[in-house]
Amino acid sequence: MALPKYTEPHYRIWHYFYLFVCGCVFFFLIAPLFVIFPLSFNAEEFLVFTDGMKRLDPDAFSTRWYKDMVYGTKNPWGLAAKNSFIIAIFATIGSIILGTLAALGLSSRHMPYKGLIMATLISPMIVPLIISGVAIFFFMAKVGLAATHLGIILAHIILGTPFVVITVTATLSGFDHSITRAASSLGSNPFNTFMKITLPLILPGVISGGLFAFVTSFDEVVVVLFLAGLDNTTIPIQMWTGLREQLSPTILAVATCLIVLSVLILLTAELLRRRSERLRGINR
């Protein structure tokens, strides 16, 4: 944003200072993520930039930690990745189904006790995770689901649904209900109306809520720490143990993969948001 020509000098200085502060904050936000990239290609076992790396000596770089991540002996990452994906996918499906249904109900103008129910449904987002973890652990232990995949999936559905409820409710806020009435008046049954009319229109909201639920599950560690047994270890649990005990560059290799994954998710979410806004006729 260029300054107009008549700007006074002290204001001009202030403006550049402001831009400088903003630059620093953006740097503070994004720079830590980029430290991980080069260090994950370190040929040494240290987590500092070696002299060779500073000289950009090709010998100082290697992909050994990536190889270790995939082929390493007794390495936990394969099992952890498999578990993480299974748990996150099922938790996402569960959250999407339950959350979308609830959002449809909540968006109806006939819904009684709307405020109270909304507050209940999104409470897992507000309650500190440690408390959720304790409560869910007590429940799962009581019903015998502790240290099972099902128990963790159910726990992640609890944590993931609020995101779906919020995004789908937001999408439905601009929804024109006369189209569904038109469909019914043309003889469509409610199920068909939902599948053919409502769902395609709210799909961006559903998917972006699903992405939130997926990321929540994929990144969740507090509740899993209480629930998981040895067979249910996930990527976050392995990272947690690794970070607590010994910081090895293999963790950085995993972290780099996770950053790439989050870039992909971010791009998908952004595209969906734009599409949804275009569909709902919001132009900025």
Binding site: V25, F28, V35, V48, G115, P128, P236, W240, S262, A269
Partner: protein, 417 residues
């Protein structure tokens, strides 16, 4: 004409008013049925277990379960004089099992909380009771130690078995009820919980403040820049937001370590000597820096969504009416952003107050928060009722803040991404 015929009838012959009411009711039920699966699921797996934490936190059956016969025999005893022979016998039998199973130590500790000096009395009994003969246990037990003749000790046992107790909550604020039933503070060197509570509040407050100070200018920049540039910069905010918490914490652990880049930089600009690098991790500094960066997007996004709606012509109008830029900012722009500030601050504060992972990894001993203490009691000491009590105390605090949040902004206004 009667009123019956005046009513408009629907095609089915039912009065229209009734028919409409019926349809309305049907819609209500339909809407409610859609919400029911999730609502039931959450109530069963989440809300009830949280409520259950309360019963767990006041429930103190440890001692009662260890001395079942004694407490049954004590039901008749009024507590004024020494208990009758049956109580002595029951206690002897209960205690014999505990000594045999090697769990007597727990009872000794628990009863020592009630009455100082109980431990040694019980230990002596454990040694001597092997030689006990059958019958007349009252005499035999009283012979072991003269304190067994003191009715105070028996009252202590009886007092230890209430149906419920709030002692865990008192422990959470470093207090306990002494022998006379008065609530007093624990000795000064053992007041660890109060330190943790105040540190949690302090960290949450300052992290919120730092987030606000850093988020305000960049949210403003994002809201005023042309779409082309702001979209690009938005990625700087959204990428950390979508990246794994553990990845971000790991990167701070690398940056802040003693041989890390931040320290390298400080040495390079000559701020600190190379052999005197400051410890920035495993203390409060690490907690502050990492938590601020991790929670910053939660402050930027609500601020941005509010600032986006403020028309730039308002500031121009203010200036054209003679206000200096500073005055125009504080009189026009700032008041309009207050809803966003409220939303962002409360969101960050709520998240910070219950933070667990980051303080546990970069906080060390002086940077851990109340959540870490809860996890410690859940996993290490297995004092689940105490963990529940502390969890509920924390939850109460969060709900109060949430209630304020709801009053100020409304929960429906939470925006994501």
């Amino acid at each position: 004409m009667s009123s019956e015929t005046q009513k408009i009838l629907s095609t089915d012959g039912i009065p229209l008013e009734e028919s409409l009411k019926k349809a309305e009711k049907k819609n209500k039920i339909k809407a409610f049925l859609l919400v029911t699966p999730l609502l039931l699921f959450l109530i069963i797996t989440y809300i009830v277990p949280i409520a259950d934490m309360f019963s767990r936190s006041i429930d103190d059956k440890m001692v009662t379960n260890m001395l079942p016969k004694t407490y049954k025999a004590m039901e008749q005893w009024d507590g004024k004089e020494l208990p009758p022979e049956e109580v002595f016998e029951a206690f002897y039998l209960d205690y014999k099992i505990l000594v045999k199973n090697k769990t007597a130590g727990k009872l000794q500790t628990q009863l020592n909380y009630e009455k100082n000096g109980f431990k040694s009395v019980l230990k002596k009994l454990a040694r001597k009771q092997k030689k006990f003969e059958e019958g007349n246990y009252k005499e035999q037990i009283m012979k072991v130690h003269k304190r067994w003749r003191n009715v105070e000790y028996w009252r202590a046992i009886k007092r230890r078995a209430p149906a419920y107790t709030y002692s865990k909550y008192l422990k959470g604020v470093d207090m306990y009820s002494n022998e006379d039933g008065k609530i007093v503070q624990v000795s000064e060197d053992r007041r660890i919980h109060r330190i943790l509570w105040s540190r949690t509040l302090e960290v949450a407050f300052f992290v919120t403040l730092f987030c606000f100070l850093m988020a305000y200018p960049i949210a403003h920049l994002l809201a005023t820049l042309p779409m082309k540039y702001s979209n690009l910069l938005m990625i700087c905010v959204l990428l950390p937001f979508w990246t794994s918490l553990l990845v971000r914490t790991a990167s701070w652990m690398i940056l802040l370590q003693q041989q890390g880049i931040v320290n390298d930089f400080f040495v390079w600009i000559g701020l600190v000597a190379d052999d005197n690098r400051p410890e920035m991790m495993y203390n409060k500094t690490g907690t502050y820096v990492a938590m601020t960066q991790i929670l910053l997007p939660f402050m930027v996004l609500p601020l941005y969504s509010v600032m986006k709606t403020i028309s730039p012509s308002l500031m121009r109008a203010g200036k054209s009416l003679g206000a200096t830029p500073v005055v125009a900012f504080f009189k026009v722009y700032f008041p309009l952003t207050i809803p966003g500030i409220g939303a962002g601050c409360l969101l960050v504060f709520i998240l910070a107050i219950g933070y667990y992972i980051t303080p546990a990894l970069v906080g060390g001993a002086s940077g851990t928060l109340i959540s870490n203490q809860i996890a410690y009691h859940m996993k290490s000491t297995l004092d689940w009722s105490f963990a529940s009590a502390m969890g509920l105390m924390l939850l109460t605090g969060v709900l109060v803040i949430y209630w304020i949040y709801n009053k100020l902004v409304g929960v429906d206004n939470i925006k994501l991404g």
